[in-house]
């Protein structure tokens, strides 16, 4: 337990000291979202209709950016062997790394998302649901991203490969997250969608540690 917490603390302090990386992700998030009003036109009604989708898709793409370094830097610097030798199960350690990834990159992204949503004319009543869907959906993305990052350790074509692995598996999260906000705007109950998002998070919380640990074990062997 103490080794897991130590790893979490180390990754968080690393994230704090390299604020530049987080800021790059945030900048990508804002700039990529800004492209859409140029691409599809600035009419408020059209933007309001697609705002949720844009925020979510761009958040999904932005969450790919820090993945390449997640385990690859450990493998390059010898930290991977330390993780395998640490007096804690590898499954717990990779969870700590995913938690740090989520706190370090997903939380800032969620904090910025209302600003982006405002620029995209999202209806006011939908903000709460958008934030709830991001809070419940991004843990799944961080865990899925962790699987992709662990599988791609040592691979030749890093970032494109990561997108190929992670994006198809992230589609269900995207579907129900956007459906929740659409339901809020349409005056329907948002609870089933949010419950499903929470269910996805629990599912990946159960599956991802084992997949990541298996991938890292065979990467180190």
């Amino acid at each position: 337990m103490s080794a897991t917490l130590a790893l979490l603390r180390r990754d968080l302090s690393l994230a704090l000291r390299n604020v530049g990386e987080t800021l790059t992700v945030l900048a990508f998030f804002v700039i990529a979202a800004t492209l859409f009003p140029f691409g599809i036109g600035p009419e408020p009604q059209i933007l309001a209709r697609v705002a949720t989708g844009i925020v979510w898709v761009v958040a999904l793409l932005a969450s790919l950016l820090p993945l390449e370094r997640l385990f690859q830097s450990e493998a390059d610097e010898g930290g991977l062997d330390q993780l395998l030798l640490a007096p804690a199960p590898l499954e717990a350690l990779v969870l700590a790394k995913c938690a740090a990834l989520w706190i370090g990159s997903a939380l800032p992204l969620i904090a910025v998302s209302p600003i982006v949503a405002t620029m995209l004319q999202l209806p006011t009543e939908a903000y709460g649901t958008l934030l709830a869907s991001l809070l419940l959906g991004t843990p799944s993305l961080a865990l899925l991203g962790g699987i992709g990052a662990a599988l791609a350790v040592g691979a030749r074509k890093g970032s494109a490969l990561l997108a190929l692995i992670v994006l198809p598996l992230a589609i269900p999260v995207l579907i129900f997250a956007v459906a929740a906000v659409e339901a809020q705007i349409g005056g329907l109950s948002v609870r089933p969608h949010l419950f499903l998002l929470a269910g996805f998070a629990v599912f990946w919380l159960t599956v991802a540690p084992f997949a990541m640990a298996a991938a890292l074990r065979q990467a180190a062997s």
């Binding site: 699987i147 599988l151 791609a152 040592g154 691979a155 030749r156 074509k157 490969l161 190929l164 692995i165 994006l167 198809p168 598996l169 589609i171 269900p172 599956v207 997949a211 298996a214 991938a215 065979q218 990467a219």
Partner: protein, 248 residues
């Protein structure tokens, strides 16, 4: 038979020598008869007319897309649990075949959708989940070939294949869970198939033919994969020998 004995490439080659003609011949026969019955002898649908004949390729291709993935997942599990080299070769051999069947399913479905639904593509639950299956195949193949060490690629992509396997039940039940444009199952139902025998016979023949075709292609590709491994090992030892010789 002790199937682990198959790990011996020579024994696998002997067994596949014996099986391959049966698979290939059976596939040719089933596909020929099935295509004749389906495209010529079976009646046109009372609503859809002749375009219903796309079904004889589309539906078996869709079954195969999932069947091949199930095989891929079993090979992946075998590769991770028993570290079985033949399972690695099998996974690498089967993935492109499965991707091809999935693509065939999507393409014929699109051709069928245009006259029937009036559109090439709709974002309906089953279409979307089959498309995701196609993407997972692509990701599997990309990951499999992304490492300098073949075994690393095989093991990594095996984990991905198992993680992606959750998509299979989603595809199967998508038309029951979500009420969408794609019709629900009409062959494998508890109360018996809701499809007439004159159409069911060619459909099942095509399905058996596709299955045998898959086994035949997988065997050929596995044998090629084993030969490639042998070749790589040979050229490795030869270059090592050459290196030693030049050193002397």
């Amino acid at each position: 038979m002790n199937w682990q004995a198959l790990a011996n490439p020579a024994r696998f080659k002997r067994l596949s020598d014996r099986l391959l003609p049966w698979f290939a011949g059976g596939a040719a026969l089933c596909l020929a008869v099935g295509l004749y019955l389906g495209l010529v002898a079976s009646p046109p649908d009372y609503q859809q007319g002749d375009s219903v004949r796309i079904m004889y390729v589309h539906v078996p291709a869709a079954w195969m897309a999932m069947f091949v993935y199930a095989n891929l997942a079993v090979a992946a599990a075998a590769s991770l649990v028993w570290r079985h080299p033949l399972a690695d070769v099998a996974g690498r051999a089967m993935a492109p075949i499965g991707a091809a069947f999935t693509f065939l399913c999507l393409a014929t479905g699109s051709l069928w959708g245009k006259p029937m639904w009036g559109t090439w593509w709709v974002w309906d639950a089953r279409l979307t989940s089959v498309l995701i299956l196609f993407f997972v195949y692509i990701a599997y193949m990309a990951l499999n070939s992304a490492f300098d060490d073949d075994t690393r690629g095989a093991r990594s992509s095996a984990i991905l294949a198992l993680v992606g396997a959750i998509n299979l039940p989603i595809i199967k039940f998508s038309v029951d869970w979500w009420n969408t444009l794609h019709q629900p199952a009409s062959v494998s139902r508890l109360d018996g198939p809701s499809i007439h025998a004159s159409m069911l016979t060619p459909l099942l023949l095509m399905a058996v033919g596709f299955t045998l075709l898959f086994f035949a292609l997988a065997l050929v590709r596995m044998r090629a994969g084993l030969i490639e491994r042998r070749l790589a090992a040979l050229s490795y030892t030869r270059s090592a020998d050459a290196g030693v010789a030049s050193f002397r």
